[in-house]
Symmetry: C2
Subunit: 496 residues, 2 copies
Amino acid sequence: MTTTYADLPVVVDRAAGSPLAAQISEQVRAAVTGGVLHAGDRLPSSRDLAATLGVSRTVISTAYARLFAEGWLEGRHGSGTYVADVAPVPSPAPATAGEWPTEPPIAGTVGHSPARGAGTVGHSPPEREPGAPGAPALIELQPGIPWTGGIDPAAWRRAWRYAGTRPPSQWPDPHGLPALRGELAGYLRRSRGLGVTPANILVTRGVAGGLALLAATLLRPGDKVGVEEPGYQAAREVLGRAGALIVPCRVDAHGVVPDELPGDLRLLYTTPAHQYPLGARLPVGRRQAVTAWARATGAIVVEDDYDSEFRYDVGPLPALYSVDPDVIVYLGTASKVLAPAFGAGWLVAAPALVERIARLRPALGERVPEPVQHALLALLTSGDLERHIRRMRLEYARRRAALTGGLAAAGPGGYQLRGDTAGMHVVLEVAAGTPAADVAAAAAANGVGLHTLDRYFAGPPSISGLVLGYGATPLTQVRRAAAILAPLLAGLPRLQ
Amino acid sequence: MTTTYADLPVVVDRAAGSPLAAQISEQVRAAVTGGVLHAGDRLPSSRDLAATLGVSRTVISTAYARLFAEGWLEGRHGSGTYVADVAPVPSPAPATAGEWPTEPPIAGTVGHSPARGAGTVGHSPPEREPGAPGAPALIELQPGIPWTGGIDPAAWRRAWRYAGTRPPSQWPDPHGLPALRGELAGYLRRSRGLGVTPANILVTRGVAGGLALLAATLLRPGDKVGVEEPGYQAAREVLGRAGALIVPCRVDAHGVVPDELPGDLRLLYTTPAHQYPLGARLPVGRRQAVTAWARATGAIVVEDDYDSEFRYDVGPLPALYSVDPDVIVYLGTASKVLAPAFGAGWLVAAPALVERIARLRPALGERVPEPVQHALLALLTSGDLERHIRRMRLEYARRRAALTGGLAAAGPGGYQLRGDTAGMHVVLEVAAGTPAADVAAAAAANGVGLHTLDRYFAGPPSISGLVLGYGATPLTQVRRAAAILAPLLAGLPRLQ
């Protein structure tokens, strides 16, 4: 079934505040998400659509380019533009998806049971054990955890089967496997526009592993390290335990505030693509200000690009790394894309810094298991990783829409959504003085587990709010959670 | 071909200093190593051999029990005692062993080339790159690296193929996979006599990973931590970078000296089974003294049991952990048995401490990739891991004998072997004042790479010496290295 121009549900509104290209890409995206457009449907050429809508061809090209970059569209050489294969993922849970063996081949092997049994706390806060015996199953809305049920079992099997055919190295390369560094350079070029070569890349265990290596290489005990406030707790933990003095650096609605950065930081940990947890995308002016500050003070800026794969409206800005590769270190991870315990990521930096880390690394006894590197290599070269990302982007976009749509039933006034339409969580700001912990407790009593914003602050919280993750939660449960939460939010005091 | 009693080349000498059981087990071991006894050969019953040799049956039972524990013998129910399948491993190098695919299925994948190419330094000291282009190939005698060429490709493939069939957990257990903890408890019971349950076990990334978790859980900045002197450099690095003040604790010919341990240590890192690098086995009296010291001062003793799998004369003493599980934490690793970049190990401790670590762990972003855990589980349940260990034990015993035998051509006086007949390296002590670095430089000029003892000291070295590893070096190369080194050693000043 091919959609022709006539069927393409796109209109433009010159009176609206948003750019025309954004209006168009947003409507195409909504048409795919909403099931109006399907994989393989052909889109009009940019010339034809421009004529139909009465806009310039550049507007259409810009809109299409964005949709291409985000994976919604694909081109077939010489034959036009099509909706990409963003097939619905298996649903509702992989345990019933049929493709994973139901009986473990090894007796006693525990398969894919979410946090069942004593002592299994996972990413949950220690005070709450999801699915504790006797309690009704909690719908967990935890941020930062990708949906492992969305992994294609066949792709997973292929990757590890390949890894098993590679002989383990007698002298493992402390940079990571050369072939993997090559593939990662290509992947980062395609997905983030980074102009890097393998010499810029070091394979890590993930973001925390990359931070630990940076700390070991660059920091002396007592060095001051800036971390966004609010910010990623594991970054504070890893850097603080490496002997750094953590300096909270204030974040506002646009991300970290460059004018307030102190002059004596050795390192600054940031999340410019999607501030964690508030969700801002650092604007271009601030990006320049932060790198100028780093140049002036001699600090290194760490750019944690943890979930830039998942944006549902506009595409991400180019990575901060591109602005000044000499003072920025870029961190990425496969754990936020594939599975929490995948265990591989990448660090991108100037080649001299990559060498310093690689030379220090053996003395720390720190390695990324080679089979994990081989498996990631296989997922990259086969295209399975990028296919997975496209499918998850669509799935998370649907869950996000279901969550925010369901919460809207609470009516206006009690909360405000913060941050971009991106990633795997939303932040609800509530009125100052509203004890977010009480809302969380009421939610838990009604069967929904969520976090308060407090835990992301090192000092006293400047905003009251709730963090609702949907990465690990299937669509039906997200809908149910929103239906449970809306009445609780409706009763909240009005936010100014 | 079955060996009968008459063929068993064993005699006893009551005038010799060593116990009769040790004499017998040593001769049986030598008969297997030397190719006199073969896999499947049947041994006489303990009653018959006792009668033949004119010793008590207890002597024979003791000797056989030791040989069983070390894996040289196996019993078949109701049908006697046989030489175990310690088949020779593929030789000389896995690149030619035929079972690994010769063409990588993924273009550009670098297979099993030992440290070739720019930037590939592996475990080598940064100042020396093995196999640098243009240079003649160096025979590397590096300690602590197992022979990856000895891995059975079919077993490796099976383990990772199995791992690929397991769905990744949505909420990974921070203790490690429950099924793996269960298998590890059984393995540690069989191989080390540890009376532990899964509640005592936490899956780690390896010894360095276990130390980092212990440091994060137990240490505050400025806490004093004892490390054997000389000792394992990575332990000093990991603990020091976690903010601890490292206190060198003297080691003599019997291991760490308990009488000299200070009273204000929070943690003591030790290698009681096989002191790293000097090779002593801590005697029973000192074991009791160390645990009494820990009880009295409130310190925790870390027992790094890194290579107890490999002993070629007497078996290991029971783990120190058995003496007092409340004050000892036991660390083991698969990386010293399988491959440097395997990436999984285990920590054994009181259940309360295991819980504390597991609760802290998610905040550190520290995980063991689940497929690695599944692969280790598969290697344990299939018996492939223990088969591999038996084969490697035989192989390393042969290499060790070839190395020490070849060096003996230097004649007496210039050096002295230190430590037990165990592990994957030997230590040659040379006369104080002999610059070991000069010997190492001369060896390198003649094509043999080795380390000096200096690098294992935090302070000024109290012993001059060389460390020669044979784990990563095939037998033919070990022989050639010994032939190159013997003349260099013959020229050394006499050791007092």
